[in-house]
């Protein structure tokens, strides 16, 4: 488990030379034509850490994933994994990282064992060592009894596990996974995350996983939030939630702008309008809502108070909801 260091501030990306960084992302910059996909992102992933890269669609996480898996050379900055620069030492790097893509990479016409044999050959494994390793991996992902069946007969969860077995076959020290739970039912999701925890704890594999699911992000040791190509938050889920300092209160009302203005003046507190809702952060939220309801009788249609979630962190840092297309910018 990583030590409980304070969350690194975004604008002060310090890199501690004493903690061994398995992945080091340094001022990474990438553009597609005029569109800037990554705008100077810097952070480190420590060895044997389960690290989550979180961001809405179009935030740059796929671009970063492609650069990390050495499929693409960044326009500026660099990404270093286990000491290998992804742009310069791609060939050497590839032996040490396992990559599991969101898109299915297993061949459905091949059996589970054949898929792994094919993968092993690509990584230079062969003969008896490979056969043993295939048996071991199939055992570990619970597919040993289906080894000789074609992958097309497998359920979505089984195919994902086969993907994972493929990515881990050559004993990588770093595993990169792109949205690994896409299309999985809740049970299969939980299984997969449990397996990622086992990998980290027992095999000391560094795992970097991209996701757009807050609930999954909460299971990571540390998180990086990306938004429009920029790093907006970095830290453990707990640290990130703590910065909210209190509860999150959301109000439904007919005229949110005017209510937010009045709340700001009356209670001397920040209040934002996000997607036609008034949103504010406050200690002891349950008491505060009584005050609100009594101060503005009849105006409040619905009110909710909750402990801060990772989505709240995202809203606080970016000023808009995770899922909107910039529709809900903060108006103050």
């Amino acid at each position: 488990m990583p030590s409980k260091l304070p969350a690194l501030a975004v604008d002060d990306p310090e890199t501690d030379p004493n903690t061994s960084a398995a992945i080091s992302i340094q001022n990474l910059l990438h553009r597609y034509g005029d569109h800037t996909a990554l705008d100077g992102v810097t952070f480190d992933v420590r060895a044997a850490e389960l690290f989550g890269l979180l961001g809405p669609n179009g935030s740059g996480k796929t671009t970063m994933f492609r650069i990390l898996s050495a499929l693409m050379v960044p326009v500026g900055g660099r990404a270093v994994i286990l000491g290998y620069d992804t742009a310069k030492d791609a060939n050497e790097l590839r032996r040490h990282i396992g990559v599991v893509f969101q898109a299915q990479s297993i061949d459905e016409k091949l059996t589970a064992a054949e898929n792994l044999r094919h993968q092993g050959h690509l990584y230079g494994l062969h003969g008896r060592a490979l056969t043993l390793r295939i048996d071991e991996m199939l055992q570990r992902v619970g597919l040993a009894d289906r080894a000789k069946e074609k992958a097309e007969t497998f359920s979505g969860g089984m195919q994902r596990r086969l993907e994972l077995a493929k990515g881990l076959l050559h004993h990588p020290s770093v595993l990169l996974l792109d949205e690994p739970t896409t299309g999985l039912d809740p049970g299969a999701r939980i299984d997969l995350w449990q397996y990622l925890h086992i990998l980290r704890d027992q095999e000391k594999v560094t795992v970097l996983v991209t996701t757009h699911l807050m609930e999954e992000a909460g299971r990571c040791d540390r998180l990086a939030f990306l938004n429009q190509g920029k790093l907006v938050a970095l830290g453990t889920p707990l640290e990130l939630k703590r910065e909210i300092g209190g509860d999150v209160i959301v109000l439904d009302t007919k005229d949110p702008e005017s209510l937010a203005d009045r709340i700001r003046i009356r209670f001397n507190t920040e209040a934002h309008v996000i997607q036609n809702q008034v949103r504010l952060e406050r200690k002891e939220g349950h008491r505060f809502i009584t005050d609100l309801v009594e101060t503005y009788p009849g105006e409040i249609e619905a009110i909710s108070v909750s402990k801060p979630s990772l989505e709240d962190v995202f809203i606080r840092r970016t000023g808009h909801r995770f899922w909107t297309d910039r529709g809900g910018e903060v108006k103050q």
């Binding site: 499929l71 990584y123 050559h170």
Partner: protein
């Protein structure tokens, strides 16, 4: 570089085999995958046989052949049909490049420590193997058109079929590599490859064609495949080129196409690789 890597737990370091084993495994997959899709096998064998019988018989009764020792058109058309089988199989197997790209398969190969040349080699040899086998299966009809091959001739025919398969598969690879839809691939085939085949001497002889067509046919590398096969299968027929110069042309064409495929795959960009 390795200093930092050494601080991580020692892992089983795979052997440095970046070319032969990956190319072998990609070749193997290509072949296994093909024969596991029965409809593809049937389609690729049945359609040229039908084509040969229908067109060959139809033309044979409509047009009495003008030259070629009063040969029946079905006989004349036989080498052309064989080339067509090879053409179809070679080109269509490389559609898998597009499919692999659309699925994640190609990505998983690209992130492996595999030299890009292994990808070309494995894929192209895979397609070549399939096309050669299909071509040789069609050769079983040879006695039907009155051709009985000696071992030496059979080997030369096999060599010709192999060379044509190899060149066309590499061509298919070059076409398929930058594409992202199989529809576009079909369009190219209809626009470009069918005429290439029509103008190869497969359907009508070079000697009877007009001057400009003859020029086109002489440039067309497929012509040399058809000519080589015809002169091997029907030693008495009149051929424009010697078997040696036909084979030499095919070798050059193969090397050129393979080189082109090689160059395309090795371009590194900062655009998405797949």
């Amino acid at each position: 570089m390795a200093t930092q890597a050494a601080t991580f737990p020692a892992q089983v370091v795979p052997s440095r085999n970046e070319l032969v084993l990956p190319a072998f495994t990609l070749w193997w997959r290509e072949v296994v995958r093909f024969y596991r899709q029965r409809s593809r096998v049937v389609g690729v064998i049945a359609s040229p046989i039908l084509f040969w019988l229908v067109i060959g018989s139809g033309f044979g009764t409509s047009f009495r052949s003008g030259g070629q020792n009063g040969q029946h058109y079905l006989d004349y058309f036989y080498p052309g049909a064989l080339i067509m089988i090879v053409l179809f199989t070679s080109i269509f197997t490389m559609m898998s490049v597009i499919e692999d790209r659309k699925e994640g398969f190609l990505l998983s190969v690209l992130v492996a420590p595999v030299s890009r040349s292994a990808i070309v080699l494995g894929k192209v040899l895979g397609g070549t193997t399939l096309a050669t086998i299909q071509g040789l299966i069609f050769l079983a009809f040879a006695p039907w058109v009155g051709v009985h091959l000696s071992v030496a001739t059979f080997l030369l025919v096999a060599l010709t079929v192999f060379l044509v398969s190899f060149a066309l598969t590499a061509l298919g690879f070059v076409i398929a590599w930058p594409m992202d839809s199989t529809q576009a691939f079909h369009a190219i085939i209809n626009l470009f490859l069918i005429p290439l085949w029509l103008l190869s001497g497969a359907m009508f002889p070079l000697s009877g064609a007009s001057v400009w067509l003859r020029v086109v046919m002489r440039i067309n590398p497929l012509t040399y495949g058809v000519e080589a096969l015809r002169s091997l299968l029907y030693p008495t027929s009149v051929s424009e080129f010697s078997i040696f110069s036909s084979l030499a042309t095919l070798v050059l064409f193969s090397l050129f196409m393979f080189g082109l495929a090689f160059v395309m795959v090795n371009r590194r960009t900062n655009k998405p690789a797949a």
